[in-house]
Symmetry: C2
Subunit: 595 residues, 2 copies
């Protein structure tokens, strides 16, 4: 190994170092030979500096340097000198100096990399993932990983200061009763039995509250074996938090301060508190989403009352069946072509719309195929409800509440984006609160927990347990940012009689509850404090802070949408002996069955 | 939920708070009724305070409080008052005050716990693990978890300050070629394929060095599916560190400062640097162990040269066969009974000893069954070599080097403990260096890597590749503390020609190397910097800092020696449907085959 180990980092050199002899270690970013003088941009984690080999002062080092190609690893020693005024590079932080090299050692050679090591490359992502170790050399990837580390530190520092104790919970846990998305791990010691990887540390953090730890956190790896989308990974990181003896308001206020600090120290953004709070009902009503993007308006309007008696049969039918008709005013879009409006219909169909009715406001009146079915008064009411003005395009969705919300919520986002209503430099936070505690599962003919069966109902809704459980609102909250859910949690049930009511409402007998949640129920009987918590989606927060749209850009070694690691080839086949040791064998379906 | 949320922590109240009205939340540690006045010790994470219910000032709160039993959760409000001089409790940090309660709410009831919530209980460990949430309420367990969190923070702060970047590496990885101890995770998306859980992030941390991250760390969960011992857990935590562009000496010096800070800030201990360095050869020679407890002497002495020609046939035979004879001087133990010495023989047999020869130094001469086989000169040499004095007991082991080291190394520890030579208040660190790079596997008839195939050989031993590979020492090091290995690592190979030599010596063809380590070898070709690293055993460090002897005491939710979680019952059976989704089925051996 060389004795020429770095005394300085490339990117930190400046005029203050002029005259110093420095030793640098780094990678060749670029080389230029100008009339027998060799210039190399040497790169390390801190940045780039120009080093110079000149027969006048480099001696034998020049010949050695001449063998170096892109991405070679060099150790060099030389003197920092000021550049001539005409060769100063204002685009480079070190551009006022260069280093005249007297000694060099090639620490390692490099094959020509499959893509350039620089920001903003347009390369097939799979090639980047296959050579992730080269992709991570690019400054923007290094900055992202460093920002991620900084964000973790900000979380920890804040939580430490506020009396939260970091506790590690197990990764090898029990499979949950509805563990359809659990990754399973066969046990060698207990043949036929399995561990599961945690989808979250939920049960353990509640047990820590029973343990009297009072305040807990963990930056925890979680696992979910599900069909992947662009913003999901089979393993993901959440900042997991639980506290005893705080009210929901106290906890949310404490978390707001944390988020403010995080965004100030990573993105330089000033976030105002308190964050807007919007009920689940309002979010769905106005934005068609429980994670509304609040950077712009374009709110949905319920027009069911106005259109119910119109001659549009579809509207009338939907309303009779308990559905609704809502509308969106696409301001100034009346001039969109028929093709453009039809495209909106195609888009809407992706979210379940059977059609997309529309009107334009042109030449002082509402126009379009359905206008003829309305009387003057109805049209006037529509104009007022939708604040329609000359040049507007009105879009109508008629269906079940759920479909209407999906269709118009997504149209709202699409049109907002298209109209340039969204300020991408803005971080707009809100708490969505008062989620429903239960939803009715038509198939199973019973209520199911919206969040999980330990979520605490709102005190004032407790009476609905006996009359209309679907009306109960939960002490549950999500933190949304620019249309993304970046955190969520709830206050938990801590009283046995409430827990029993909850289980009974979910259709569980005492025996079933015992079988499914026995150890937890038993724990709850030994003096459980009032408690609640939250989990932040760490990968997604880093993604939003760095202005990315893909979670993979925030993770050092991510998996693809098909849950593979293109670098190492995981997952892969294993030896028959390994399976035998685990008392399992493969049970592959026939290719025919697969097709 | 109550509106009486804590304004103060129980254990922090003092005379400074006298006159204040405080709200406290906590658990009933103990209650005493003295003539109609009720005293409750209220406990939270911070400690205990006495609260008082008296008809004179508590009103209706007294009757409510009277229902409270041990481990009930209370919210109380009242005034802090100074205690009378005669009722001050000097054993309690809050013993100078008490709180006169005016309002109370029972937040939760509690069943009578199966053991007392206090330190130093002598309870069957399985009962504690089954009710871990109660065990963790005990102050010593809470202190341990808080110390663990603090230790993690010290590691992170130091590493952050020194330019290390925290990077999360995957938990779902490839099974390694020799992955006999890998936990496997079947893939749902890729039927018949498996992920493995990492035994360490080794490959990813080296890839991060190839990525130019230069300095990396992670407090990483690792997994090993092996037969468990008292100081092993199926999942464990290591502080994983890797750096580029540092020499071994620079890295070890940097880590020493880290360890010094850790022990100063957690244990209040002053650790001297530089740490002693001892070669593997010396450690094995003098202490019979590669993780010697250096808090005491009692060194082993090689006496092969002295005893080779003696009439003790066993000694002569062993030496002829390439073995050795070593001895240990148990100072002052000549008076041990025959039974006591026989017991040492039984102990030695556990480590492979076929017998344990001995002599005593009594009445000015060596005595014992084997003395008659030695001549005067040999006896004199033995006395001198072993610095034998009146009253000493000399113990001899004759066998292969390995067995002799095991036998006498363990006898040394046992006798050192028995003689009170070990100062338990002392933290004695040392680096064991110059481990052998390779060992010869007699069965496979080839060399195998002692550490892993990427460990860098010492420069000055490189020539042995062509002559005697067993002689090559590695740039590998372990950190030992009081007889435990608490860390270990190595400089890694970064030059292709060295890596190829290494693989060839391990008997790997180029094709095999490619098949086993292809993606890593390819990565190494794109400009790999010199790098190396270390991993600290975090659980074990916390165990030693807190003076425990059992890793389970340092982990919130540990598993038993048979890799079970007694609290949740993990691992457990899963649904047939889950297995079908994963394309596996059980292949349990017949009970008869099992017996």
């Amino acid at each position: 190994m060389t004795t020429m180990l770095k005394t300085q980092h490339c990117g930190t050199l400046s005029k203050a170092n002029v005259g110093e002899t420095v030793t640098l270690n780094g990678w060749v970013q670029r080389r230029r030979d100008l009339g027998g003088v060799l210039f190399i941009d040497l790169r390390d984690r801190s940045g780039i500096v120009q080093i110079v080999f000149n027969p006048a002062f480099s001696g034998e080092a020049l010949a050695v340097a001449d063998r170096a190609r892109n991405e070679y690893v060099l150790a060099v020693r030389g003197e920092v000198v000021e550049r001539d005024a005409e060769t100063v590079n204002p685009n480079l932080p070190t551009g006022e100096i260069e280093v005249r090299i007297k000694e060099i050692e090639i620490l390692n050679a490099a094959k020509n990399p499959p893509f350039f090591i620089e920001d903003g490359i347009e390369i097939d992502e799979s090639l980047r993932l296959k050579h992730r170790y080269l992709d991570l050399r690019r400054p923007e990837m290094q900055r992202t990983l460093m920002l991620r580390a900084k964000a973790a530190k900000i979380f920890r520092d804040y939580l430490d200061e506020n009396g939260f104790v970091e506790v590690e919970t197990p990764i090898l846990i029990n499979s949950t009763p509805e563990g359809a998305r659990d990754y399973l791990v066969p046990s060698r010691v207990h043949p036929g039995e399995f561990f599961a990887l945690p989808q979250s540390p939920q049960i353990f953090k509640q047990l820590l509250m029973v343990s009297g730890m009072e305040r807990y956190y963990q930056i925890a790896r979680c696992f979910r074996d599900e069909d992947l989308r662009a913003d999901r990974q089979p393993e993901f990181t959440q900042v997991d938090i639980e506290t005893s003896f705080l009210s929901q308001d106290q906890l949310l206020a404490m978390m707001e301060k944390l988020v403010v600090r995080l965004f100030k120290e990573t993105a330089g953004a000033d976030i105002e508190t308190p964050f807007q709070r919007i009920t689940y009902a309002d979010a769905m009503g106005k934005y068609g989403s429980d994670k509304p993007d609040l950077r712009f308006g374009l709110e949905l309007q319920d027009v069911s009352d106005i259109v119910a008696e119109s001659g549009v049969q579809v509207f009338a039918n939907v309303i009779k069946k308990g559905g609704q008709v809502k509308a969106l005013n696409a301001k100034g879009c009346a001039a969109w072509s028929r093709k453009e409006i039809d495209d909106l219909g195609v888009f809407a169909a992706r979210y379940g719309a059977k059609g997309l009715a529309w009107m334009t406001y042109k030449d002082g009146e509402l126009k379009g195929p359905i206008v003829k079915f309305f009387n003057e008064q109805e049209l006037e009411q529509l104009k007022q409800r939708l604040q329609a003005e000359e040049g507007d395009l009105l879009l109508f969705s008629a269906d079940t509440k759920k479909v209407v919300a999906d269709v118009l919520g997504n149209l709202r986002l699409k049109i907002g984006r298209q109209l340039g209503l969204i300020d991408d430099s803005k971080f707009k936070f809100a708490w969505v609160v008062d989620f429903p505690l239960l939803s009715y599962d038509e198939e199973a003919k019973r209520y199911v927990a919206e969040h999980h069966p330990f979520t605490r109902p709102k005190e004032e809704d407790m009476h609905y347990f006996d009359t209309d459980p679907g009306q109960i609102r939960a002490q549950a909250y999500d933190l949304v940012l620019n249309g993304y859910e970046v955190g969520g949690g709830s206050m938990r049930i801590y009283q046995r009689e409430v827990q029993e009511k909850m289980f009974a409402t979910l259709g569980l007998s005492k025996e079933e509850a015992q079988e499914k949640f026995g150890y937890l129920l038993e724990a709850f009987e030994y003096g459980t404090p009032p408690h609640g918590g939250i989990a932040f989606g760490f990968d997604r927060l880093v993604m939003l802070i760095t202005g990315r749209t893909n979670l993979r850009e925030t993770i050092a070694f991510p998996k693809t949408a098909s849950a593979s690691d293109l670098l190492t080839g995981a997952p892969g086949p294993v030896d028959a002996k390994q399976l035998e040791d685990l008392s399992i064998r493969l049970a592959l379906k026939q290719p025919s069955a697969k097709a």
